[in-house]
């Protein structure tokens, strides 16, 4: 038997495999394909203080080895989540983590306070990195000062595990990671999508209603790995790595680069059962390499 369990702040995960927000709904969308209880955790769709309709269609464009999206945080707001969705999550033996977004510090704090009341939600992932909303979102994640301000304010209002999701659309991601750590984050997750664009040459028009959108999928993995590696040198809090993880081998690469856990996102669209295959694949790797504990892998890159 190998031990896959890891800790992120006070949050214990049975294994390091989480689902990335916005790619897995609220979990039940995938319940026909996998046993959700086999996952370390499910990070649910980005939740804001108020209802958001999101951006107009078209919101998605396929790109080489990836996709662009411009969903724009469509969700029914935190009160709807608490009343209608949260009750359906209890009773499933995994960690449900809420991704919290906002367009002002007050919004983030108000949403986090409401989630703080929910006994069954052990952590939030603070999204300061959404590239698809005009106000806020990524604006908080591209300046160390703004990041520190919003994380510190949420930290005062939220007493469970606080994960801060970082944007790769910055000159130096380690500055933002340090700011989040200084402001009291328990963990940073990275990377959110990379700002990108796609054009229909025949029509001479953009493929997304918003012109630009967030790039995800296999094509972003080398950038994500590099950033995890850089942030590992810069902070002491645990890192959750994500960006283009399509297989167990990809996940192991992130662990080696210094991530304590990983999130699986776009890969869920191609294989709805991929998350469980990645859990099994990590187990097989550890056994095949005579390791007993996933911590032997974490940060184990030989340079």
């Amino acid at each position: 038997m190998v031990d896959l369990s890891v800790k992120i702040g006070n949050l214990s995960l049975k294994n390091p495999v989480l689902t990335a927000s916005g790619t897995f709904g609220y979990g039940h969308e995938f319940a026909d394909f996998i046993d959700l209880a086999r996952l370390g955790g499910v990070i649910v769709k980005g939740t804001t203080l108020h209802h958001r309709e999101g951006n107009p269609y078209p919101r998605m464009a396929e790109t080489p080895s990836g996709m662009l999206n411009a969903v724009g945080l469509q969700n029914k707001g935190v009160d709807y989540f608490i009343e209608h969705i949260y009750p359906t999550l209890t009773g499933i033996d995994t960690n449900f983590i809420v991704n919290v977004s906002g367009s002002s510090v007050e919004d983030y704090v108000a949403t986090a306070e409401k989630i703080n009341q929910l006994e069954g939600i052990p952590a939030i992932e603070l999204n300061i990195s959404c590239p698809n909303v005009k106000q806020g979102g990524m604006a908080f994640g591209t300046s160390p000062k703004a990041a520190e301000e919003v994380v510190a304010a949420v930290r005062r209002a939220y007493d469970k595990t606080l994960i801060v999701k970082l944007s790769p659309n910055v000159t130096d991601i380690t500055e933002i990671a340090r700011a989040a750590e200084a402001a009291g984050a328990d963990s940073v997750s990275l990377i959110n999508t990379l700002l990108g664009m796609a054009i229909d040459a025949e029509k001479r028009r953009p493929l997304l209603s918003t012109v630009t959108g967030g790039l995800s999928g296999a094509c972003v993995k080398p950038i994500a790995l590099r950033m995890v590696w850089q942030v590992r040198q810069a902070v002491n809090i645990p890192i959750i790595g994500l960006g283009g993880i399509m297989s167990a081998t990809d996940a192991i690469e992130f662990l080696l680069a210094g991530a304590t856990a990983v999130e699986i996102g776009t890969a869920n669209f191609i294989d709805p059962a991929i998350t469980v295959k990645i859990v099994d694949g990590i187990t097989d790797y550890l056994q095949g390499h005579n390791m007993k504990d996933v911590h032997e892998l974490i940060g184990g890159l030989i340079v």
């Binding site: 916005g22 790619t23 897995f24 709904g25 969308e29 995938f30 026909d32 394909f33 769709k45 309709e53 999101g54 107009p56 269609y57 078209p58 919101r59 998605m60 464009a61 396929e62 790109t63 080489p64 080895s65 990836g66 996709m67 999206n69 969903v71 469509q74 999928g217 296999a218 776009t266 869920n268 669209f269 191609i270 294989d271 709805p272 059962a273």
Partner: protein
């Protein structure tokens, strides 16, 4: 229950220069499919990353067979045209909400399709006929060669045709066919190019006839998780993959 299944090609049939018919089966029993639902197909080809949503053209539980009518529009569909007997094709299915089946007996039903949009109407017609309803298909294309599977449609109802160049059936668009002036219907189903469906919807609204349309949007997940494929409804953005692809026109902003 949704499943991920490896299917195998029984036959790849070229219907014209732009459309193919795939007949698929599997070693396991295919899950029961309802008319209007779709599958997400995984295609291995350079620069194809996501699955492709394709509607159920026909399904037969007895033969454990699924038909997909595929228009060759891009890299993935052209790759599908190269599949040979015995080749594997991985599907996620069944997906989406099916067409409504009338509960009243022996209804007169009109199924209007254009181009490759005729795809979901074959299995719908078969299902409706089996339930004892009277089915009329009204199928349109630019020219004679665009009309697909006419012999199959004839098995389940009367077939009326329009072509824009009058090379087959009546000349003009489906909404100009004399059938719409001469007959009345209890329910209309339509699938095809958006302007055609909107014209059919206007006809149904004028006549006070219930009407369902099957929409096609670009999808990623197919299960309501990514929120990419939304259409604007009276109740806001709804996922075409899970709330649809079939919508009652009353719910759309048409």
């Amino acid at each position: 229950m949704k499943q991920i299944i490896d299917t195998f090609i029984r036959e790849t049939k070229r219907l014209n220069d732009r459309n193919i018919l795939l007949r698929l089966t599997a070693e396991v029993a295919l899950p029961h499919l309802q008319a209007g639902q779709f599958v997400e197909v995984q295609v291995s080809a350079p620069n194809v990353f996501l699955r492709r949503p394709i509607s159920v053209h026909f399904y037969c539980a007895e033969k454990n067979e699924l038909w997909l009518l595929v228009q060759l529009v891009g890299k993935a569909t052209h790759e599908m045209a190269l599949l040979k007997e015995g080749d594997k094709l991985n599907l996620v299915l069944p997906l989406g909400k099916p067409f409504s089946i009338p509960t009243a007996a022996a209804q007169r039903l009109l199924l209007v399709g254009g181009g490759v949009g005729v795809a979901p109407l074959l299995y719908l017609g078969a299902t409706l006929k089996e339930q004892g309803h009277h089915v009329a298909f009204l199928l349109g294309g630019r020219t004679k060669g665009d009309l697909l599977q006419l012999d199959e449609f004839q098995k389940y109802g009367e077939v009326y045709v329009t072509t824009e160049d009058a090379s087959l059936g009546e000349g003009g668009f489906v909404t100009q066919h004399s059938l719409l002036q001469n007959e009345t219907f209890d329910f209309i189903y339509t699938c095809g190019p958006t302007p055609m469906m909107q014209a059919v919807a206007r006809y149904a609204q004028q006549k006070g006839i219930e009407c369902e349309v099957s929409l096609e949007n670009k999808m990623a997940c197919g299960v309501g998780a990514c929120l990419c494929c939304v259409t604007d409804t009276k109740e806001g953005h709804k996922c075409v993959c899970t709330v649809g692809p079939v919508f009652n026109i009353k719910d759309l902003k048409w």
